[in-house]
């Protein structure tokens, strides 16, 4: 029996998702490929965004993939760590800003 939920080898099988629904799988991968093409943002910038988002969604597959992708594109550790901190700041900020709602509710209900 498998001892862990995650297996790094599953990442290589991502494409097999299409086997159970070819049409939607194909549409997803076509969209995905298009998104990462060079546009107003460079492919390098997109890779850095993807790395940051990977951390906020805490996707182990994505962190694996976009750390490797960043290395291939010549991203430096300082750039990658700064991107992760941006992600972490937004995520913690998003938690903390809800404190305003909590404070207002508290004050409204209190005598």
């Amino acid at each position: 029996m498998q001892k862990t939920y995650y297996d790094p080898k599953d990442l290589k099988d991502f494409g097999k998702i299409s086997e159970w629904d070819q049409e939607l799988g194909d549409k997803f991968f076509e969209y995905y490929g298009k998104v990462f093409e060079e546009g107003a943002l460079t492919a390098r910038e997109k890779s850095l965004i993807a790395l940051a988002v990977s951390h906020t969604v805490q996707c182990a597959y994505c962190i694996d993939a976009y750390t490797s992708d960043g290395l291939k594109r010549g991203l430096e550790r300082e750039e990658m760590m700064e991107a992760v901190h941006v992600a972490a700041a937004i995520k913690s900020g998003a938690t903390l800003v809800h404190g305003v709602q909590m404070m207002k509710k508290y004050d409204k209900l209190s005598m």
């Binding site: 290589k12 060079e38 492919a43 390098r44 490797s68 290395l71 291939k72 594109r73 010549g74 430096e76």
Partner: protein, 349 residues
């Protein structure tokens, strides 16, 4: 850092490197051998096309000890090509009809007969006369300072290694101070016209990844290198070649020591591209070692896999027999067929 040879590391013996390729993941069927993979697309055995490139390794001595070096070069390596062997190279080059002479090492400039070889070779009039320079050697000692002018005089095409356009990654792979010395050397080359538009003097750079991963897209990297080197240092160059690190000698040592060997080989196999097989450099190249022996490529040279013909030395050079030979392959060949492919001239697919 010393070479594997000096340290008497087990991987200094090519037989141990080849034994590694034929054991573990490639012996238990987890990954297909290169021969099995190429056979799947009916491309085995690999056969030569027309011989175009004579790549001559004039010796393993180098002023640097790079962590990824497949030659295991360094200051402690004493293998140096003699003028007799160089003359033999030139005779056979003329006989072969090859159009490119490609000098490599080590640092070829450290061979005491290097200038003689360049002068004699330039008289032959090959279409493309390449010298692979690590750049830092051009600034290592005053006796090398005039080399940019010397290269210009003999219309040499300079191909230089520069792992990255920033200091950190470059120095980590090649040693402290390498980046600054490389930038200085590039400025000197630019000063005499190398890499400058309209000069006709070609200066190409070689990028290779600083770790256990494949290079990114060559044209994207070239664009980034050009922008950064121009903005930061006012440096220009012609083309960038993105080269995959092959699991040979010191890079293999790194892969094994860092426990990346299996994953890296898996990545190479996974990225196997049959269309790259059609253009691998061993098809149009002959590699010559410092002693005059012949190989399918510089990697096979380091693995002591001499050409599969009766004439294995320049003195027995037989162009027709070489043309009919089977190219010797092993698992390291996956490095040349991964993704966009890899050769001493960059991507091939």
């Amino acid at each position: 850092m010393k070479s594997l040879a000096k340290r008497k590391d087990s991987l200094a013996d090519p037989k141990n490197q080849l034994a590694l390729f034929n054991s573990g993941i490639f012996a238990n069927g987890e990954l297909p051998t290169f021969k099995q993979k190429v056979s799947e697309t009916n491309q085995f055995p690999l056969k030569p096309t027309k011989l175009e490139i004579f790549q001559v390794n004039v010796g393993y001595m180098c002023n640097q000890v790079c962590s990824h070096c497949h030659v295991d070069a360094g200051p402690d390596r004493k293998e140096i090509m003699t003028t007799e062997t160089m003359q033999l190279c030139l005779n056979k080059l003329k006989e072969s009809g090859a159009t490119t002479l490609d000098l490599t090492g080590g640092a070829p400039e450290m061979n005491p007969n290097f200038r003689w070889f360049v002068e004699e070779a330039s008289k032959i009039g090959v279409q493309d006369f390449i010298v692979r320079s690590n750049l830092t050697i051009l600034r290592a000692n005053k006796k090398y300072y005039d080399l940019p002018e010397f290269f210009k005089k003999h219309n040499v095409h300079v191909v230089s290694s520069l792992p990255f356009y920033k200091r950190g990654k470059t120095d980590k792979q090649r040693g402290d101070g390498v980046f600054d010395a490389s930038i200085e050397a590039l400025k000197e080359l630019n000063k005499v016209g190398y890499g400058v538009e309209g000069s006709g003097l070609k200066l190409d750079l070689v990028f290779n990844p600083s770790g256990a991963f494949l290079p990114g897209n060559q044209s994207e990297l070239e664009k980034e290198f050009k922008t950064a080197l121009l903005e930061d240092f006012g440096i220009t160059f012609n083309n960038l070649f993105a080269i995959t690190n092959l699991p040979v000698s010191r890079f293999l040592e790194f892969l094994v020591a860092s426990e990346n060997y299996e994953d890296y080989m898996d990545e190479l196999v996974d990225a196997y591209n049959p269309s790259a097989v059609e253009n691998v450099m061993c098809k149009n190249t002959i590699s010559v070692d410092w002693n005059g022996y012949l190989y399918d490529c510089d990697f096979n040279q380091q693995l002591d896999l001499k050409v599969a013909t009766t004439g294995k030395h320049l003195s027995d050079f037989d162009a027709q027999a070489l043309q009919k030979r089977n190219i010797i392959v092993s698992q390291h060949c996956y490095g040349c067929t991964a993704g966009e492919g890899s050769s001493c001239q960059g991507v091939v697919a």
